[in-house]
Symmetry: C2
Subunit: 108 residues, 2 copies
């Protein structure tokens, strides 16, 4: 029930939501996912209007957030999606699922 390391979880949530805040990064993630979960850097960059280094940087942000990882294969780098980190966000969102559950704190 991963309830360990609340500080780390907060940071992870922050990294994830910040990474998703940019449309290009959301699209990168979705593109890789829909194409089977992994793509080369060039395959990704080729699909975007941005200059290649710009897209590379977005990938670095996604990787720093733990949403993407990469592996070198010959002279290409293959990026693989890891959507387990998205659970942090889903978990946060689930606070809003039911009617507000007032906590054990006297109302003022």
């Amino acid at each position: 029930m991963r309830r360990r390391d609340p500080k780390g979880r907060l940071e992870a949530l922050q990294a994830v939501v910040a990474a998703l805040a940019h449309p290009a990064r959301r699209q990168i993630l979705l593109t890789v996912h829909l194409r089977g979960g992994s793509m080369t850097a060039g395959g990704i960059a080729g699909r975007f209007a941005h200059a290649w280094p710009t897209t590379t940087r977005h990938m670095r942000v996604l990787e720093a957030a733990g949403l993407l990882s990469h592996e070198r294969v010959g002279r290409t780098r293959v990026y693989r999606i890891d959507h387990s980190r998205l659970d942090h966000l889903k978990e946060w969102l689930s606070w809003f699922d039911d009617a507000p559950k007032r906590r054990a704190k006297r109302r003022r």
Copy 2:
């Protein structure tokens, strides 16, 4: 099944995720929610370390994203949460729920 206005939906998603990208704004939203769904501006601002106008600005961002709305009551303003917009984000996240569903597009 709200499938209308794809452009508007994209913009809404962007506004929502950008609004949630800041920890103070996430906390404002959660605070209002947990306290029953509505609070005065002062009630909110009083709980944060930031200067009051700073928090006010965060509230404006949340309101622009459709996550908060307000109503004037006497000399106070009561903010009310509207978490229906969070569904845009949940919907986007749901792309990643199952194994990648390759679309009707020949693989290369």
